[in-house]
Symmetry: C2
Subunit: 206 residues, 2 copies
């Protein structure tokens, strides 16, 4: 029995999840968007950012998101950006399926993360991720374009957005190319935390 | 002592507050965006939509937003759209200042709404609205372009967004032209309701 297919992102109030260019990754707005997660103990330990960090509901949400995930799917550009940035034991600790035209052998890293390069489309990548995940869930881990491809194909069951009190003004919009006429959302949860609001939705086709 | 300057809008999860064209005003997504407010008793009575309607926290929010408002400011296009659509006693029941290049005498309607046409800019319109509002607050009542002009000028103190579980895909974005580098937001409240999430922010310049 396959698990749930979901995504989980931090989004600015004006709908952006990333700066336009990697040069801006240390920009003020980007840091403000991510600060709720960077402060959490589980996140810091998982990315080897040093000891400490907050515990509480936000930390639980980060940990629960990690623990439910049996495999992740990534777009090529997100993988490329991460390839240089992740530590030797990347924060996934599961199989990761990269949707790409680039042919490459599986890349096994420390800590249980192995990147598999899938050349025959998003459905194939998801099939392989489901199989690898077993009873756990599959996370579509970005970027925006890949998430929306899965949304438009009707392959996302639910998603979590941490909506943060920051405006980007420009950057990469999560829902830029969404085919809104084909899906309806049901809000299943809205949970305030000190620095963000956790919103959860299920997706229905229509 | 002047009151607070605020706006209050219903926004889709992908950041839109209106369809691109008035033809789409009865579209499925637009109705879904507005349904939380159309169902409320106070809103229905105020727009003469017939008896009945829900009571509860959402209704209280609609009523409180009305009761705090001593004067409103509108952009020209929002006024033009409303001029045909509002009943003889428009839902404001206060002075309304329309920012426009069009010269026109004040237009007094039933029920206490008088539209004043202001030809010398947004600050002048706000000054007049503050004066008319007395101890009550001034609502920048739309559209998106007018709201963002006031935001970018540092003239908004706080705002309320009812974020609804609907995707538009296209339309008029609330924050399209926001100068994000010049303002910081503080989330002061996040309140789930059955069909939307009420988010409140204060605005600080930086």
């Amino acid at each position: 029995m396959a698990g749930t297919v979901f995504f989980s992102v931090s989004m600015s109030l004006d709908g952006f999840i990333a700066p336009e260019s990697p040069d801006e990754l240390m920009g003020k707005q980007w840091m403000e968007l991510q600060q709720w997660v960077f402060r959490q103990r589980f996140f810091r330990e998982n990315l080897k950012l040093g000891m400490g960090g907050e515990e509480g509901r936000d930390n639980d949400i980060v940990r629960e998101t990690f623990e439910r995930t049996g495999a992740s799917v990534l777009g090529k550009r997100t993988f490329d950006a991460g390839e240089d940035a992740w530590p030797e034991d990347p924060p996934f600790h599961t199989p990761v399926f990269v949707v790409t035209h680039h042919k490459r052998d599986p890349w096994e890293r420390l800590g249980g993360t192995t990147f598999h390069f899938v050349n025959d489309g998003i459905e194939s990548a998801l099939d392989r991720a489901r199989e690898a995940a077993g009873d756990l869930d599959v996370r579509i881990a970005g970027g925006a374009e890949t998430i929306v491809q899965y949304l438009n194909a009707g392959l996302i069951d639910e998603f979590h957005i941490a909506l943060s009190p920051v405006l980007f003004g420009s950057g990469i919009r999560l829902f830029e190319h969404v085919d809104a006429s084909r899906m309806a959302l049901t809000q299943i949860d809205s949970e305030p935390s000190p620095s963000t609001t956790h919103l959860r939705y299920t997706v229905q086709s229509r």
